[in-house]
């Protein structure tokens, strides 16, 4: 490790921690989880500091792309635990996207009905406010493909929202039972 490495990395960290943390927080249940994802993202950046593009938009996108993969790895691992626990205890925890939300219940439920890919697209646009061109870089496809997928995701969200609202007005007894929480 050289002093130049060290100083350059600290600059990178100072410049982008907030963006990386927000990106993680939008996809995690708690702030502490977002801290962990941000920490792991910058740990990867530290290990691969020779590969990080020069600062500017490229470095930020490189870090967001790394955070995206860190989150995907976590999701796979947690998914396994979640599946087994659900099956073992006869429980059903809410989808991660619902966690921590107290407002916009129907919208959260509609989001939870979408595929992870659709949710990620919508969140990238509405929360991260990434331009389509940057989304294309992160997703490894063309801007046209992103626009098309985004259009479809919005339409599916609208459909899911409509169905969630309809289901809410019916109030399925089974759904109510499942919403009552876990083991006492």
């Amino acid at each position: 490790m050289t002093a130049v490495d060290d100083a350059a990395f600290r600059e990178l960290f100072d410049a982008h921690l907030a963006d990386v943390w927000r990106y993680a927080r939008r996809r995690c249940t708690t702030s502490a989880d977002a801290d962990d994802v941000a920490g792991e993202t910058f740990a990867v950046a530290w290990r691969r500091r020779a590969d990080v593009p020069p600062d500017g938009g490229d470095a930020r996108l490189w870090l967001l792309g790394t955070a995206r993969r860190v989150l995907a790895n976590q999701r796979r691992s947690q998914g396994r635990q979640h599946r087994l626990r659900t099956r073992a205890a006869g429980l059903a925890a809410p989808p991660p996207v619902e966690a921590g939300s107290h407002e916009g219940g129907e919208l959260w439920r509609a989001l939870a009905r979408l595929s992870p890919e659709d949710r990620d697209l919508l969140i990238m646009r509405a929360w991260d406010e990434l331009p389509v061109q940057e989304m294309a870089v992160l997703l490894g496809c063309t801007p046209n493909a992103v626009s098309l997928r985004l259009h479809k995701a919005r339409r599916r969200l609208a459909d899911a929202l409509h169905r969630t609202e309809s289901a809410g007005s019916r109030t399925s007894p089974a759904r109510s039972r499942n919403a009552e929480g876990g083991l006492p």
Binding site: L17, V44, W46, L61, A126, R154
Partner: protein, 285 residues
Amino acid sequence: MIDDPMDALLAPLDPSRTEAPPAPGSVRYASILERAMSDTDTLTPISLTGRHGRAHPWRRYLAAAAALVAVAASAALLARGADDPDPISVVSSAAERTGDVTSFRASFEEETDDSVATGTIEVNGRDNYSLDVITTSKEDGHVERDITVVIGRHAWQKLPDGSTHTTLARRGGMEPFGSSSQAVVAAALSGSDVAVVGPETVRGEPATHFRITLDDAARSALADLEPNVLGWFGLNTPVVVNTVDVWVGGDLIRRIQVQTDYSSTTTDYYDFGADIVIERPAWAG
């Protein structure tokens, strides 16, 4: 910039609007930085898929392999004779009959990127079942065992750390395994393509292998099922399901295999109608 009504609807839900990132100089900030810079593991440099705007070659190989499988499945479907029964009818009928069975055993194997879980399930009646799961980490070979016994509203669990828990099962708990299988297969069949893969043997019994390739309508139908139905198959996120393979023998479902983006779960059903007794476990205390 928010320029779409749906984005505007979503924007207020952004959790980072009400929580700030770690502030420079704070303990959290320093802790994240220290953790990052103390990491000395080495990684083989890899290029980011997105930086070049095109997929890695292995994705193309996988896509080609998937296309070959699809062609093979289609060929099998075309080879079906005009007098052969409709695959959807065969699978639906078997799912219904399996849903009517009140006692049976099942074994399953679930493989993900990082682990393999194997387990046995014994079922007798609507609310009596036992489940024994052994999970092995692919990374370090670590083995965990998780045992659950449910009799009516009473549930006993033995967790991987050896601790045991006695509790009341949640109201509405798990739906019966048999009828859950029926519901999942029925949902998977809605609007999907069903191909006959061919005759095979499951636990010594002759069976016909069918492959259901899900479309959006089928995934949506799966998503409409309750979690206490889907949970048996690890289907908490039905939207990631790609195919459901079903083996039918003697007008009963003998095996179900669910392929998702992240996992593959194979469940074998056997000992239909056997005299199965679910008892309070000795370790329950």
